[in-house]
C-alpha cells in the first residue's frame, strides 16, 4: 500500500493548496535568488545556456521515466540504452557496419536505427513486465547490467572519436539562437504533457498505475500500454544518448549515460510524481530536473567539494520531496 494513501493529519489550509501546485517552482525560484546573491557572474545568458544544455538529456530521459513510473513501474536500463544508441550511431555513420557514401543519408540512417534499437530494447523491457509479470526493477535490471556490456562488446570498449557536423548538429547546432537539443527537450516535454492529459493513451497509463486490475477489467489493453510506455522510455533514452555523444564528438560505451537512471528518477521524484504510480506531472519533472541542475551548478560554482556536495544534494532531494508530499497530504 502506498504511503500516499495514508489518511492525512492536517486540516485544510490554503497555504498547502498553494504549495501543492507550486512547491517545486518555489524551491527553484528560491535557488535562483540564492544564486543571484552568492554566485559570481550568475546573471548572464551564458549561464542560462550552460544550465539548459546540461539539463537537456536528463529531462528527455526523465520524461520517459515519468511515464513508466506513472504505470507503477520503473526503468533502470535507461543509461545502458543511451550507451547502446551512442555506440551504434557512430558505427553506422562512420561506415563500420555498411558503407554509405552520402553523409546525410548515413547520418539519417544512424539516428533512426540507433534510436529504434533503443526503443526496441525498451519494448523488450515492457514485454518482460507485461507478459511475464516480472517486477519492473528486476526486469529492467537485466538490461541495466547486460545493456552496457552489449555496448562495450560492440565497440570492444574503445572510444569512437568522430567529427561529423551533420550528426553533431543535434548536440551542438542552433536554430534561431536556441540550442537544437533544447528544442528537442521542449518538444518532448510539451508532447508528453499534452499526451498524458488529453489522450486516451495518457488516461490509460494513469489508470494502470492507479489500479491495474480495475483498468484491465475496464477494457484497458494493459499489456500493450505497458510495452508502449517502456518503448517510449527506450526511444527517449536513445535520443539522449545521441545528444551526449554529439556534444562530445566521441562515444564512450563505458560512460555514456552512466548513473542516468538515478538522476532521472530523482528528477521525477523532486518533480512531485509519486513512485507508486497512478499520478504524474511532466511539468513537475521538468522543474525537478531544473532544480537538481541548479543545485549542482550552485555547489560547483561556489567551490563546494564533491563529498560535501553529495550530502547537500541528498538533503535537498529529501526536502523537496517532503514539501511535495506535505502539500499533497492536505
Amino acid at each position: 500500500m502506498a504511503a500516499g494513501s495514508r489518511p492525512s493529519q492536517k486540516p485544510d489550509r490554503p497555504i498547502y493548496a498553494f504549495l501543492d501546485r507550486y512547491a517545486t517552482l518555489i524551491v527553484l525560484v528560491l535557488l535562483i535568488l540564492l544564486n543571484i546573491a552568492i554566485t559570481p557572474n550568475f546573471l548572464s545568458v551564458q549561464t542560462l545556456n550552460v544550465n539548459l544544455t546540461q539539463v537537456c538529456t536528463i529531462v528527455i530521459v526523465a520524461v520517459g521515466m515519468t511515464l513508466v513510473i506513472a504505470t507503477g513501474g520503473i526503468d533502470l536500463s535507461v543509461g545502458s540504452l543511451m550507451a547502446i544508441a551512442g555506440a551504434l550511431a557512430p558505427m553506422i555513420f562512420m561506415g563500420k557496419i555498411f558503407g554509405i557514401e552520402h553523409v546525410g543519408l548515413a547520418v539519417g540512417l544512424a539516428i533512426i536505427l540507433s534510436v529504434a534499437v533503443a526503443g526496441a530494447l525498451g519494448a523488450f523491457n515492457g514485454w518482460l513486465v507485461a507478459t511475464f509479470h516480472i517486477q519492473p526493477i528486476v526486469a529492467t535490471l537485466v538490461l541495466f547490467i547486460a545493456g552496457r556490456g552489449i555496448a562495450q562488446v560492440m565497440t570492444n570498449g574503445n572510444l569512437q572519436v568522430f567529427s561529423v557536423p551533420e550528426f553533431q548538429f543535434i548536440g551542438l547546432g542552433r536554430i534561431l539562437g536556441l540550442p537544437f537539443q533544447v528544442i528537442i527537450m521542449a518538444v518532448v516535454v510539451v508532447w508528453a504533457a499534452w499526451m498524458l492529459r488529453r489522450t486516451v493513451f495518457g488516461r490509460q497509463i494513469l489508470a494502470i498505475g492507479g489500479n491495474e486490475k480495475a483498468a484491465e477489467l475496464a477494457g484497458v489493453p494493459v499489456g500493450r500500454v505497458k510495452i508502449a510506455v517502456y518503448a517510449i522510455s527506450g526511444l527517449l533514452a536513445g535520443i539522449a544518448g545521441l545528444i551526449v555523444i554529439a556534444i562530445n564528438s566521441a562515444s564512450d560505451a563505458n560512460l555514456v549515460g552512466l548513473g542516468m537512471e538515478l538522476d532521472a528518477i530523482a528528477a521525477v521524484a523532486v518533480g512531485g510524481t509519486l513512485l507508486s504510480g497512478g499520478r504524474a506531472s511532466i511539468w513537475g519533472t521538468l522543474l525537478g530536473a531544473l532544480t537538481i541542475q541548479i543545485v549542482r551548478y550552485t555547489l560547483l560554482a561556489n567551490g563546494v567539494p564533491d563529498a560535501a556536495a553529495m550530502v547537500v544534494k541528498a538533503a535537498i532531494i529529501i526536502a523537496a520531496v517532503w514539501i511535495q508530499r506535505k502539500a499533497r497530504a492536505s
Binding site: 550552460v50 556534444i247 564512450d252 564533491d306
Partner: protein
C-alpha cells in the same frame, strides 16, 4: 624471501586489471594481451570493475587456478595487500603495474617482485613546472580532478598543487572532480568557466577531461590555447593532435604500454637476474615544440 619462478618455455600468468572503463586502461590491457600472445604465454585476465575488494577475490581465483606469476595493477595502495600476501603464501611471485602498494605493509623484493610504473605525483609536478616556466605572467587555474578518492587523482593533484603553492603569481581558483570522463569534465568546466570568467588555465588530470574542457572553452566563446591554456596528463594520440592544433598547451605522458617491459621483467626474474624494487617508466612530456615529431610514438 620471494617465491621463485622456474625457467620454462611458456608460462601461465595472471593479469588482474583494475577496470576497463577508459581508453588508458584499454591500451594497457591490449598491450599486455598482445605481448602474451607474442610470447605464446597464457594470460589469465580479470577485471575488478573498479573494486579493490573484487580485485583481491580475482587474485585469489588466479591463485586457485595455479598461475605461475601475477601481474597486478592494484586499485589501491592498502586494500590489495592481502592479495599480495596470499600470492606470496601460495608461492606465486607478483609484479605490480602502474600503481604501487603501501610500502609500510609490503616491500619490493620481499612481498612482491617489483613495481613498474609512473610516478603520478611527479606527473602533476612536471605539468606545474611547465606552466610556471611558460606563463611568466602568472594565471588563474581551474583544476579538473579525477575520480574522488582514486590514487591518480590524489597524486596528480598533490604534485601539481604543491608546486603551484610556491608560486604566488598562480592561483587555483577552482578544483572539482570531473570523474576522469569527457562529458562530466566538459560540464564541470562549463560551470567553472561561468563562475570564474577570469580563469586562463585549465589543468585536467587526464586527456578525456581535457578534451571535454576544450568544448567548454569554445562554448563559452573563448579560444583554447589563446584565452585559456589547457594542460593534461596521459598523452594519447588524440590529445597530441590537439597539441599540434594548438588547442592544448602541454601534456605529460603516462604510458600505458606496459606489456613488453612487464613480460621482460618476468622473464628476467625467472632467469634469476637482479630486479630493482621500482622500475619507473620514462614518461615523455609534450608541448608544441615536440608533439608533431613524437605523435607516432604515442599510444
Amino acid at each position: 624471501g620471494l617465491p621463485t619462478l622456474e625457467v620454462k618455455d611458456t608460462y601461465k600468468v595472471g593479469f588482474a586489471q583494475t577496470e576497463s572503463n577508459n581508453p588508458w586502461r584499454l591500451a594497457q590491457t591490449n598491450s599486455m594481451q598482445a605481448e602474451a600472445e607474442k610470447r605464446g604465454w597464457q594470460l589469465v585476465y580479470t577485471d575488478a570493475a573498479g573494486s579493490a575488494a573484487k580485485q583481491v577475490a580475482d587474485v585469489n581465483s588466479m591463485i586457485a587456478q595455479g598461475v605461475d606469476l601475477i601481474f597486478l595493477a592494484p586499485r589501491e595502495e592498502i586494500p590489495l595487500i592481502p592479495a599480495i600476501k596470499a600470492a606470496k603464501g601460495a608461492g606465486i611471485p607478483v609484479i605490480l603495474l602502474d600503481r604501487n602498494v603501501d610500502q609500510s605493509l609490503a616491500k619490493a623484493g620481499e612481498d612482491y617482485v617489483t613495481f613498474i610504473g609512473s610516478d603520478f605525483i611527479e606527473e602533476g609536478r612536471r605539468v606545474a613546472e611547465w606552466l610556471v616556466n611558460n606563463k611568466p605572467g602568472g594565471g588563474k587555474i581551474i583544476e579538473l580532478e579525477g575520480t574522488a578518492g582514486s590514487s591518480p587523482a590524489n597524486d596528480r593533484k598533490e604534485g601539481f598543487d604543491t608546486f603551484i603553492a610556491d608560486h604566488a603569481s598562480f592561483e587555483i581558483v577552482a578544483s572539482q572532480t570531473g570523474d576522469f570522463a569527457r562529458d562530466k569534465g566538459r560540464q564541470v568546466a562549463e560551470t567553472l568557466l561561468q563562475a570564474h570568467p577570469d580563469a586562463d588555465v585549465i589543468y585536467a588530470h587526464n586527456d578525456e577531461m581535457a578534451i571535454g574542457a576544450i568544448s567548454a572553452v569554445e562554448a563559452a566563446g573563448k579560444v583554447p590555447g589563446k584565452d585559456v591554456l589547457i594542460l593534461s596528463i596521459d598523452g594519447g594520440r588524440e590529445i597530441l593532435q590537439l597539441v599540434i592544433d594548438g588547442k592544448v598547451a602541454a601534456v605529460c605522458e603516462c604510458n600505458p604500454r606496459f606489456g613488453p617491459k612487464a613480460f621482460d621483467t618476468a622473464a628476467a626474474y625467472a632467469n634469476g637476474e637482479d630486479i630493482p624494487g621500482k622500475i619507473i617508466n620514462p614518461d615523455n612530456f609534450y608541448d608544441a615544440s615536440n608533439a608533431a615529431d613524437l605523435i607516432d610514438t604515442a599510444y
